[in-house]
């Protein structure tokens, strides 16, 4: 059975800290891995990763994929209170089907 597991489930940090969020997967017909940020209802797209070892960066956020070990990490440096959200990892399988992980709830306190 396909599964996507994220860790930790919850994380509480202070502003300025650096955090690393993990996503491991066991999915048949893997095509790509997506990261989303969910603050209220709608997940907003962060990154799409298809190749191992190529880091994607956007400001203080970066992500990388390891297709041999079947995991991805999302790094956030110099965290701010606005980074507080649920971060979702999803794997694209076969015909566009997304399989979501459980999510990591990040809380950043001033």
């Amino acid at each position: 059975e396909d599964k996507v597991v994220q860790s930790p489930l919850s994380l509480v940090v202070h502003e300025g800290d650096t955090v690393t969020l993990n996503c491991s997967y066991e999915v048949t017909n893997f095509r790509s891995l997506l990261w989303y940020k969910q603050e209220k209802k709608a997940p907003t797209f962060l990154f799409m990763l298809t190749s191992s070892g190529i880091e994607k960066k956007s400001g203080r956020l970066s992500s990388i994929l390891d297709k041999k070990e079947l995991f991805s990490i999302l790094n956030i440096t110099a965290t701010q209170t606005g980074d507080s959200a649920i971060y979702l990892c999803a794997v694209v399988r076969g015909t566009d089907k997304l399989i979501f992980g459980t999510g990591t709830r990040l809380q950043v306190f001033p």
Binding site: L34, K41, M48, L88, A90, L98
Partner: protein, 117 residues
């Protein structure tokens, strides 16, 4: 990315009634999907809305409970039928295969928060 709207944004409904949620996109898209997010849970795919044909449902979801329409490439509806409190969730539509974007990226609408009493 596309601009996606959903109506209603939230609703409180009585047990046994039905609610239809609309999803509108500002450009034509090949793929449209409907997801459910139960309280404290992650997103689960309900079905793929196929233009001009019946939706493709995931295991555990049936057409009688969640009928879906997709009359064209920019619009879809999801109906939650004969509701019970267990249907209280956020319902989200998403779109994929936008022109000029990566094939696998899906973009989400703002969601509909449904509470069933």
């Amino acid at each position: 990315s596309a601009v996606i709207s959903q109506k209603p944004s939230r609703d409180i409904c009585q047990r046994g009634t039905s609610l239809t949620i609309q999803c509108q996109v500002d450009s034509q898209v090949t793929m449209m999907f409907w997801y459910r997010q139960q309280p404290g849970q992650s997103l689960t795919l309900i079905a793929t809305a196929n233009q001009g044909s019946e939706a493709t449902y995931e295991s555990g979801f049936v057409i009688d409970k969640f009928p879906i329409s997709r009359p064209n490439l920019t619009f879809s509806t999801l109906t939650v039928s004969n509701m019970s409190p267990e249907d209280s969730s956020i319902y989200l539509c998403s779109v994929g295969r936008l022109a000029g974007t990566s094939t696998d990226t899906q973009y989400f609408g703002p969601g509909t928060r449904l509470t069933v009493l």
